[in-house]
């Protein structure tokens, strides 16, 4: 930014731009064992129904949940999220369900903790009673008088909680690739007004791939025009506002060898990759986006879905989802998870 441009900004906007964006390093300990740094771009790649959008839901929830609420320890980050929806697979009601489950779990955990604390106190162990702990006890004390169900929360309380989380979420639907590019340019003002926003999501970056190809004529360069403009605009935003970008990319193409391998695998079984994971992973991914996008992406997660063997089935879930995390070319590790009504569950690092 140059001198003249600064003049057009309000003091508040300058502060928002230059001031520190929220800390996202502790977004998730399983997915980011080494922490997550600002300006990282993570691409979520996979076929249909492999859990890409579900993973975004999980990450949104981690972000928009508060650290504490009414003295309860919730454990979220309280960060704002901008969700660019081009696939129209985003369901706010689904997100509300996941938030509710988290609240219920947090309340139960707090109750359990409280019991523990009480026994500790009875054993006359001096407890570190800092401000937060005090609040926690007060809140729980209030709750106990009004217990109606398992968690002791009324429906209004849950709704207030869900809405307070949704205040940190901004959803933008885009229906054409031009609209998407212009919208990314226009995000400056939203980001300026909301310094709490630290994460940008795009579901998906490949939604207009065929339409762009079609309207670009015979020249590949013109076909990729909008893609390049999009990447440029995103890059500028990410760097200027220190954001993290999560973008899904659909598996539109598949490499031949992969299909052959699929045919070989035992049906119904949860098959392990053959011939070393590196080999398998390279085969799984197929790039079709423009060069600029490939340079922008710092990490790629490759999603796949596997049927579980009868004996492995837990809670009627019949699929296990796998994510292979790679940074540019180097594989970093596998994470598996299951999906049920309350979102992503049982996330584990596979060694």
């Amino acid at each position: 930014m140059n001198e003249m441009a600064r003049k057009s900004e309000s003091g508040f906007q300058v502060l928002a731009r230059l001031g520190a964006r929220p800390d996202i390093s502790r977004l998730d300990t399983i997915l980011f064992p080494d922490g997550l740094s600002q300006r990282q771009v993570i691409e979520l790649f996979g076929g249909e129904g492999t859990g890409k959008t579900e993973m975004l839901m999980y990450l949104i929830v981690r972000c928009i949940l508060p650290k504490t609420w009414n003295g309860l320890h919730i454990g979220g980050l309280g960060i704002g999220v901008v969700f660019l929806d081009t696939d129209y697979h985003f369901s706010i009601l689904r997100l509300a369900t996941i938030l509710e489950t988290h609240l219920t779990k947090a309340v139960q955990q707090n109750n359990a903790m409280k019991c523990e604390n009480n026994t500790l106190k009875n054993d006359t162990i001096k407890f570190n009673t800092n401000q937060e702990n005090e609040n926690l006890h007060d809140a729980n004390g209030d709750k106990i008088t009004g217990i109606t169900n398992q968690t002791g929360l009324t429906e209004e309380q849950i709704e207030t909680f869900v809405k307070s989380c949704f205040q940190r979420l901004h959803v933008i639907r885009c229906n054409t690739s031009t609209q998407l590019v212009v919208t990314v340019h226009s995000l400056e003002s939203l980001l300026g007004n909301h310094p709490d926003i630290g994460v940008l999501m795009l579901d998906s970056v490949s939604a207009f791939y065929w339409i762009d190809r079609n309207s670009g004529g015979d020249n590949v360069a013109t076909q990729e025009n909008n893609q390049r403009h999009l990447v440029r605009a995103l890059d500028k935003l990410i760097n200027e506002y220190n954001l993290v970008l999560f973008a899904t990319k659909q598996m539109i193409f598949v490499k031949r060898q992969k299909q052959d391998q699929d045919n070989d695998s035992t049906p119904g079984g949860y098959h392990t990759p053959k011939g070393g994971s590196t080999n398998y992973d390279e085969i799984d991914h197929c790039e079709f986006m423009c060069k600029q996008w490939q340079t922008l992406v710092s990490d790629r997660w490759i999603f796949s879905r596997h049927e579980m063997k009868q004996v492995q089935k837990i809670n009627s879930r019949s699929y296990i989802f796998r994510v292979l995390q790679t940074s540019r070319v180097k594989p970093k590790g596998h994470v598996t998870f299951g999906i049920d009504d309350s979102g992503i569950v049982d996330m584990q690092i596979v060694t």
Binding site: D87, Y88, R173
Partner: protein, 325 residues
């Protein structure tokens, strides 16, 4: 890509457009890509003027952010779940067809896709006051069957007439007509001019494969472009107009070893629907417990893709004279 036209916004006069063109800026996106200071130098236009133009262009061509709270309130008040008329199918779909979503039903020929469509259309007009648009692309909608299913609800002749008027049918045989027809519907719903359209909650396209398959192949980019364009129209119908969209698609017998059926139309299409159910006839081994008579009418329906539910569940439905149960 929208180009910069004179008078598209107040500051954008013919001379300004000309100046910008000299600096190699002729489209909205090119304008936005350039730094304003640099642009101001290149074409000798005042910085302030360019800032104003930029602001207007952004407002005109961008989509507006919606706060999560507003979206939630709107979803709670405007969402509807439409019963398919079959209890088993409703349970499988977590209540029925959701507005704002595209539900795809796949199955081999004669699996009963059209029967489910007809039964759903009838159930919606009978049990709710919502209206239905039924787009038939394969010539498979049989009026006498529609009549038969309606009669089973035991209604008077007058009522029958009224019900029939609430299901609007279109016979369309190519993708361009379909795109046009759907866009027209979109406009009519947003204008809320006719009472029929303001109460329209379900759009059925039986089937999408019938119009897309003929154009696939050959110049791949063209056909895929048209296909995705159609999907965009369907998606915006579902979300902007808050309607439920039910489409049917064929299957490919891709994997004989695993017995897994895949929807036709290729990978790019696979990503489109929010929910997908697969319908199939019972095979010999699993239908032994049924009498030979019921074997022909029982179908297995399973949930193969969903953005909100655990997938893998399945249910049995029966296709009878009275509809689908």
């Amino acid at each position: 890509m929208p180009s910069l036209r004179p008078d598209a916004c107040p500051g954008l006069t013919a001379t300004v457009v000309e100046r910008l063109k000299e600096a190699n800026v002729s489209t909205v996106i090119e304008f936005l890509n350039r730094g304003l200071e640099e642009l101001s130098k290149d074409c000798g236009l005042p910085y302030q003027e360019l800032t104003a133009i930029r602001r207007v262009l952004l407002a005109q061509y961008s989509s507006f952010p919606m706060s999560g709270v507003d979206m939630y309130d709107e979803a709670v008040s405007a969402s509807a779940i439409l019963s398919t008329g079959s209890h088993g199918l409703d349970t499988l779909l977590d209540g029925g067809l959701y507005t704002g979503e595209i539900t795809e039903m796949i199955g081999p020929p004669a699996a009963g896709k059209t029967q489910v469509c007809i039964a759903t259309a009838v159930a919606v007009v009978m049990e709710t006051d919502h209206n239905v648009v039924y787009i038939d692309t394969g010539g498979s909608l049989c009026p006498s069957r529609l009549h038969q299913v309606m009669q089973s609800h035991d209604i008077t002749e007058e009522k029958y007439e009224e019900m029939c008027q609430r299901i609007q049918c279109f016979k369309i045989f190519d993708i361009f007509q379909l795109q046009e027809c759907l866009q027209e519907l979109h406009q009519k719903i947003l204008n809320q001019s006719a009472p029929f359209h303001s109460n329209l909650k379900l759009i059925i396209v039986d089937s999408v494969a019938a119009v897309i398959l003929p154009i696939l192949g050959g110049a791949q980019t063209d056909s895929h472009g048209h296909m995705i364009h159609l999907s965009r129209i369907l998606k915006s119908l579902a979300t902007d107009c808050s309607t439920a969209v039910l489409i049917t698609n064929n299957t490919t017998g891709a994997n004989n070893d695993t017995g897994q059926v895949l929807p036709s139309l290729g990978r790019s299409w696979h990503h489109i629907p929010n929910t997908r159910i697969a319908i199939s006839r019972m095979n010999e081994s699993s239908s032994k417990s049924f009498s030979s008579e019921s074997k022909s009418e029982t179908r297995r329906v399973s949930l193969v893709k969903s953005c909100k539910q655990v997938i893998g569940g399945s249910t049995m439905i029966a296709i009878k004279d009275t509809g689908v149960t």
